[in-house]
Symmetry: C2
Subunit: 278 residues, 2 copies
DNA sequence: CTGAAAGCGCTTACAG
DNA sequence: CTGAAAGCGCTTACAG
């Protein structure tokens, strides 16, 4: 054990610094710090004290270079500003545990070139896996090239059925909504939804229609009311209607203005139902 | 140059693989790939072709171990779900450039313990710097311990004036709002704002009051209307008022329901004004 | 129980 | 122009 602390000058302390201060070899210091049991208790204590003294934090890069795992994951979103990436990111973070696995967040801004850049960077950082989050439930083209790590597509499934995708059961969601209204005693039920160009809108409509049919009912107006994906379309404030839509105001937008709890976006046709695998 | 491609079996291709395939040493392969000019053009071409063939992506970890820089930054937020972290994250990402610097996103969920865990993890991953994003403009305690990399506090400044903080000029924001209304010809101006426990509310009120005083006017009601940080407080729908607030409805919440553009949160007292350093 | 040695994938002086 | 060698910070067999 040297006489003075020898705090390293201008760089982060290394295992060698710790070992030197504790008067052992780096091999032993490594074992002590990693909780291997082939170390005498007194030795371990000395090493740990030295590490503490130097505020030693093991270099995860060096460790990863050996182990093959980096403990990092890339989360690639196409639409960070949107409503869906953040909850998914938070769920992933929770699952990974604070500090166990760290996530690289990349926003491709809906641009394929940008996405490719990010993938390249993430792979050279040797992430252990990739999570690709889309902003709607329409299938998207899989990542180009051979990706040497596991990839999970979330929200927007991969167009390749061989890939692993976690997406929303929108057909089931449409069913759930109708079943709920039926359970409330309603019989005259309309379906107000988003643009028919989205799989989400079509799928929910399909589920809703099926549930109504099962109940021996028909949809009010005979078909879903497709419209734009915003609260205005579902709200009561509409004053002029196009000829293809009925003169009738289905929902109150009151939920979007509820008092108290912090203010949250609210979609009128079920996008907020819990995610489940298909 | 070997006769068959020798694609490595079950692992990512390394510089050694590339060098072998190109028939040069790793040193030369390294120089060729990194664009050093001490390499014969023909040799460089051969190396690049080999790299291409193997889909070689240099191991950023190994590179970082040498260079001292990792090209990564930690972004530590306390409130990912809130309104402010995401725009800041996107700005940072833009500034870093896709794939040049990657950002680790960590959400401390407002918990100091969790924050400490994340800091520890980020430091062991040897980030080149840290961005700490708060959810309001009240000063926050600086990160505990000695942080060996540059730290920038954003939105919520550090309580230590020696630290670098980028925050919002709320006093100036309050002034701007009043100046705008004055320019529109208004003379009876009230200030409806958030809870007085927040520096943001107090600062904006201060700026607004000062601008009114400068114009020889007084604030309608004689003082700011402090209330909860939500649209309801600023909106027209209020039916009952506490005795401390006037029977008067200041703002229309219509902006939060505007048609067309995708739906955005809207704060009634200026939080959305552009950020500037103090 | 402890330590010398090899090696993870790369870069950088330093000889040839 | 090219390559052998050392080294970044760590871990892991393998001897002692």
């Amino acid at each position: 054990m040297s006489t003075e602390p020898e705090v390293p000058a201008n760089r982060a302390p290394t295992l060698t610094d710790v070992a030197k201060l504790a008067g052992v070899s780096v091999a032993t210091a490594s074992k002590a710090i990693n909780g291997r049991d082939e170390v005498k208790a007194a030795t371990r204590a000395r090493v740990l004290k030295a590490a503490e003294l130097l505020s030693f934090a093991p270099n995860a890069l060096a460790r990863a270079l050996l182990g093959g795992r980096t403990g990092t994951v890339g989360l690639l979103t196409s639409d960070l500003e949107g409503r869906f990436s953040i909850p998914i990111l938070m769920g992933a973070e929770d699952a990974f545990g604070a500090g166990q696995v760290s996530v690289f967040l990349c926003d491709a801004r809906g641009d394929a070139i940008r996405e490719a850049y990010h993938v390249r960077a993430l792979l050279s950082r040797r992430v252990d896996g990739l999570i690709v989050v889309g902003s709607d439930t329409d299938p998207r083209p899989p990542l180009a090239g051979t990706i040497p790590v596991p990839v999970v597509y979330v929200y927007a499934p991969s167009a390749d059925p061989g890939d692993i995708s976690i997406t929303v059961d929108n057909v089931g969601g449409g069913r759930l909504a109708i079943d709920h209204l039926l359970a409330c005693g309603r019989r005259n039920i309309a379906h107000v939804t988003g643009e028919p160009g989205f799989a989400a809108a079509r799928d929910r409509a399909e589920g809703a229609a099926a549930a109504l049919t099962d109940a021996g009912l028909t949809m009010l107006g005979g078909k879903p009311y497709y419209g734009s994906w915003d609260e205005t379309w579902g709200g009561p404030r509409r004053t002029s209607w196009s000829s293809s839509t009925p003169r009738w105001t289905p929902f109150s937008a009151a939920a979007t203005r509820s008092r108290g709890a912090s203010w949250r976006p609210c979609v009128t046709s079920g996008a907020m139902c819990p995610m489940r695998s298909p």
